[in-house]
């Protein structure tokens, strides 16, 4: 889980007073704030690092080392694993699930309020951008969801602060 953080909201006293009697007006604003917060997090986690050696198409076959990664294999984004055979033919397995495009979000109203849910049903999402991230994905610049959440703190604060401002303005009318 991400490190602790703080939300700063101007006019907090008035907001708290207002919220006691204005949940109906507050809810859509808070839903929007949550949707923006999720979008901000997604915006970061969706950005792909530049392609690396692991994505470079091979044109000639090399004798693989006894240990380590096979130099004849690479990963083509949006396609999947590819490899070149000893006779120079390129083969592939279309295992891609389009990781970047699969990030999705949902704002859910529950008894206790509003919950933001981020989702990605790509099976390899966890090892690329989750808590089980492989070291080589980290080295190639893939950020984790936790990092994206941390980096989005200011955006989350801004989204909810704006909701508070809008609510106060609405209640003042």
């Amino acid at each position: 889980m991400a490190d602790p953080f703080y939300i700063q909201i101007d006019g907090l006293d008035e907001l708290l007073d207002a919220l006691e009697t204005a949940a109906e007006q507050a809810q859509p604003l808070l839903e929007q704030a949550m949707a923006r917060s999720l979008a901000a997090i997604q915006g970061r986690v969706r950005e792909y690092p530049p392609a690396s050696e692991a994505n470079r198409p091979r044109t000639t076959y090399q004798t693989p080392p006894l240990r380590g990664r096979d130099p004849n294999r690479w990963y083509e984004r949006g396609y999947g694993t590819k490899w070149i055979t000893a006779d120079g033919k390129v083969r592939g397995k279309k295992v891609s699930r389009f990781l970047g495009r699969q990030w999705t979000q949902r704002v859910q109203v529950v008894d206790t309020g509003i919950v933001g849910i981020l989702g990605n049903s790509t099976p390899y999402a966890d090892e690329v951008q989750g808590r089980s991230q492989k070291a080589y994905h980290a080295r190639r610049g893939w950020i984790t969801l936790d990092t994206a959440i941390e980096q989005s703190t200011a955006d989350i604060e801004a989204a909810f602060a704006e909701a508070a401002d809008q609510l106060l303005a609405a209640l003042a009318d």
Binding site: A39, G78, T104, T112, V115, I117
Partner: protein, 228 residues
Amino acid sequence: MNPLSPEFWGAERGTLLAVLLPAIEEIAIAGANIGLDNLAQVGITLDPELTHAQAARWAREHTDALLDRFNTVTQGSVGEIVQNWIATPGATRADLEARLLPILNENVARAESVGVTEVTRAMAQGEYQSYAEAGIALPPMFSNGVDTAPFGPPAHPRCRCWTRVVRLPDNTWVTVWATNRDELVCQQKLKTPFGDVQGCKSLHNHVLSAGKYAGMTLTEAERTARNG
């Protein structure tokens, strides 16, 4: 990535309303700060099974009509196949193409092209629904000669691009173009609402949302927003 349980949320009252309303005693009024133990308390969690419902729905409702107008598909329902693919956690590109092949006369090249392009389109349109709900400006409407829709991926057949959201320094929320950032990203001339560009590669990190930042690079937009 383990989602927190519903019981956790119930116990924590992990919502902003819960944070704002009952926790007055925890608030440092002087600084107008609300102290939070961690992000869970504002109710953000992860569901590794969550699929893109908006994109799936869009594919079902629009893909076939659009392809018909492009005269691309003459039988079967691409929309339904794309919808089911999006809604199936773990389904791969190979699975998608295998399902498309029978209705595309076993034409592998067409299955590849239609599969990649229509998933890209459905995902982008699904995103736009999310953005609209978040009050984020959509890209300007743009006509490709057949259809008029908010400009965005796919920019061409087999386009693999998508969009993402960024908040600018002046608190404007915008959508920007994102690519795979590899050597396969297209560099062919494309028409956009912002003029002709050299392919998706040159659209990467360009603002799409309608408004004064439309068409700017993210860096330009951030600089402009900072300088008022």
